[in-house]
Amino acid sequence: MRRFLQLSVVLFALSWISSCDKIEPPYIQSGGGTGDNLTRKVLLEDYTGQRCVNCPAAAKVAHDIQELYGPKVVLMGIHTGFFALPGPPVFMLDLRTEAGEAWDNHFGISTAGHPKGIINRTSKGGVYFLSPGEWSTATAAIIDDKADIKINLLTDYDENSRQLNISVSSTFLRTLGGAYTVQVCLVEDSLVGTQFNNDATIGPAVIENYVHRHVLRGTVNGIWGESLTDESGAVVGTIVDKTYEMNLNADWKAQHVSVVAWVQRASNLELLQVEEVHILP
């Protein structure tokens, strides 16, 4: 009996000594991707709202990921649902969009609760959204993937007339089957408004001059984009050009506006490539 107990204690101790990782500082890693054009960029859709107390912390996670990977990560803050409702005199901004609400409904964001993020519209078991704590790992898992499509995104903006011309040229880097669509969106950065918050390292419970980053303002070519190829797909080297003309909304600050364009698989909406260009240098 005594021998058994002694053996148990030794085994017990050995197993636990070998299965604890005590991490010493520095806790934060540095250095991200290479910015190589031929790897897949990542779109992080941050479904958020000004009344959502956990959303500033989530926005910080998104910002940290972009800091790490630079332009390889494209951020888009999508204000949707109850948490994005305006409510004067405190919540003066209405940052909701028709596309944002449609995507929220399609992906089940509001039903699951904000904040949620979607990484390149990849899904697991039919579930697209992830909690903020999962974003960085999910980004790291795909950011070094080889790109199947290259997007050449160009803009031409006239400050006097506020006319914006957009050109999206998509090159297939390998032969792909199935239908693909292209989606073009407008994003405005640094909108200032009130935000609820529960992360004391970010600010008080009610932040009156919160800076909303990378806010989706609308789509250029419909809620679900437009067709790039039919079901037969495209062979390597195929280039598909799309151009768009529009007038920029008078309330938007052109120096903060960028165009985000991506190519996605029509069957499951997964993004193959994404690019972002500011309309003013």
Binding site: K22, P26, Y27, R51, G87, S131, E134, W135
Partner: protein, 563 residues
């Protein structure tokens, strides 16, 4: 694949019946089924519009449990269906299948379970896997469990597996792997000389480790996180004392904003019990003890550890309107409960005696100080904060004082009266920013008239008075029962006195009635119940774990049976 397992399971059971009469005589099958269905209808007055229903006019949650026992051998499975989940349940639960299957061998010396299982070490501080149907909560482990009893009074447990995450199959690196060991010794059984002792001593120790790959580009994360706990239970005469202390090493996660501080938890309880009198005092301190098998998730999923609540669980609708949700990131609380039965024949006790229960509990936040001069508290990628073990923050999460009288008035009448004074930090406990803490008075009477040996009438009248959140409520209910088979009930909750209450930036909610009519039929172990009416928005908590219940309107059906 699971369907194939099920087919094999059924065939195996069938073969026993066909070929082995002797085996058949020794075998036993138990089971239970439950189906909860809801039919929704638009109800503009309480905010239920067609767009809220979004085409999902019916929700259904159901399960079937089957357990087969043959001597030392047990096998069981559970089928679940959420098609689609009833409103208020996580949409990720949508689906159906067999999430729980196991085979087990049990003898006096050893028990081995392969497949899905539940387990708890001590009070569950570092390991508790369990299922709670009303919350839609299930963190069952899938793997191997061994319980070894080498000597009388000694129990050694080992578990190894992954946890259930809705319907998502475990794949490599999809979430963590949980390993655990627990040892418990009942000294009065093990040591012969103590077998007759008045002092009863049980000691236990446990260790749990989770493994999850570090695929995070932002932080250097521990891939193996260990947690350890020790406990002792002492009983002497009418007194009983229990305490458990748990320690967890650095476990940065979404729940603690990726800080690297160690976690601690302590739970103690002292009780005294004699005929007509019971006293329980409980103390708890929790510091950074969220312990999940996936560091990236938040919410009520994949919990390895469990923080027990030390608050009274209320059962009446208004006293349970603002239930406490445990705060694994930090809390410090106590509870005192005194139950006294005034003897019958005395002045206050009357002919039948009078039961009095007094309960007080309070939970505060723990005090947190910066880990150093330059780092704000809770900054991610740092130690997070320092916290003195004995210091309590001024921030009160929850306070509940309640007193209950339980009085039998005659052979046919009995009554329960209760008063409750509550403080509830709704901002912390329900995440409603800019809402004032709720200060509420609640009173209720519950009177039962036993009309005959078969028939009884129960009447409830409750009132809640508060200036915060949605303001005042009153509730009334009349229930007529013809035992053992039928019951009929009508009830109403009325939200009033809120016209002047400003809900931050929300629209002002108008007074509303939340009426329901219900009836049920029970025969043997089968119960069928129908309820029609409105469900007020609220929160359901079981064991400190909570689920939001949105307002709804329509018909609900519940069918349960056991065999």
């Amino acid at each position: 694949m699971k369907q194939l397992y099920f087919l094999v399971f059924v065939l195996v059971l069938s073969s026993f019946n066909v070929f082995g009469q002797g085996i058949s005589d020794q075998s036993r099958i138990n089971g239970s089924f439950q189906i909860d269905g809801q039919f929704y209808r638009p109800d503009d007055a309480i905010g239920i519009t067609d767009s809220v229903i979004a085409g999902r006019k019916v929700g259904l949650n159901g399960f079937g449990n089957i357990t087969y026992t043959l001597g030392s051998f047990t096998a069981g499975l559970r089928y679940e269906a959420y098609l689609s989940p009833i409103s208020g349940f996580d949409p990720a639960q949508e689906g159906n299948g067999f999430p729980f299957m196991y085979v087990a061998y049990n003898s006096e010396l050893i028990s081995v379970t392969a497949g899905n299982f539940y387990e708890q070490f001590g009070n569950g501080l570092i390991l508790r896997s369990y299922e709670e149907w009303t919350l839609g909560y299930d963190n069952a482990l899938s793997g191997i469990k061994v319980v070894y009893r080498p000597y009388k009074g000694i129990s050694l447990k080992g578990i190894y597996g992954s946890q259930r995450y809705y319907w998502e199959k475990f794949e490599r690196n999809s979430r963590g792997i949980v390993r655990g060991l627990d040892a418990e010794i009942d000294l009065n059984e093990t040591v012969n000389s103590l077998s007759g002792s008045n002092l009863r001593v049980i000691v236990g120790a446990s260790a749990v480790s989770k493994y999850q790959r570090d695929g995070d580009p932002l932080y250097h994360l521990p891939e193996n996180v260990g947690a350890f706990a020790g406990r002792i239970n002492l009983g002497a005469g009418k007194f009983n004392f229990m305490t458990e202390y748990a320690h967890k090493i650095n476990d940065p996660s979404a729940m603690n904003n990726f800080i690297y501080k160690n976690g601690h938890a302590m739970l103690s309880s002292l009780s005294y019990s004699q005929k007509g009198l019971g006293v329980v005092l409980q103390l708890k301190r929790v510091d950074n003890m969220s312990f999940k098998s996936d560091r990236g998730v938040s919410g009520n999923v994949l919990d390895i550890g469990f923080v027990p609540p030390i608050n009274r669980t209320h059962s009446y609708s208004l006293t349970a309107r603002y239930p406490y949700a445990t705060q694994p990131n930090g809390e410090m609380g106590f509870q005192l409960q005194v139950n006294y039965k005034i003897p019958k024949g005395s002045l206050l006790g009357g002919k039948y005696g009078t039961g009095i229960a007094v309960n007080f509990s309070q939970v505060n936040d723990i005090e947190r100080n910066p880990a150093n001069d330059t780092t704000p508290v809770y900054k991610s990628g740092t130690m997070g904060y320092k916290s003195d073990f004995i210091k309590v923050s001024d921030h009160v999460f929850f306070r509940d004082f309640n007193i209950e009288l339980d009085k039998k008035l005659s052979n046919s009448w009995k009554a329960v009266f209760q008063y409750m004074n509550q403080y509830f930090d709704i901002e912390t406990l329900q995440g409603k920013t800019n809402y004032e803490p709720i200060k509420a008075h609640i009173a209720l009477a519950d009177v039962t008239w036993r009309m005959s040996s078969m028939r009884s009438l129960r009447m409830e009248l409750q009132g809640m008075w508060t200036q915060q959140d949605k303001g005042n409520w009153t509730a009334a209910m009349v229930e007529f029962a013809i035992s053992p088979r039928w019951f009929f009930a009508i009830a109403d909750q009325y939200n009033f006195g809120n016209e002047k209450i400003s809900l931050g930036n929300e629209k002002i909610i108008k007074p509303n009635h939340y009426y329901t009519g219900s009836f049920g039929y029970t025969r043997e172990a089968t119960r069928l119940a129908f309820t029609f009416g409105r469900q007020a928005e609220g929160v359901i908590c079981v064991g400190g774990v909570c689920r939001q219940v949105p307002a709804s309107s329509g018909l609900s059906i519940s069918l349960t049976t056991n065999f």
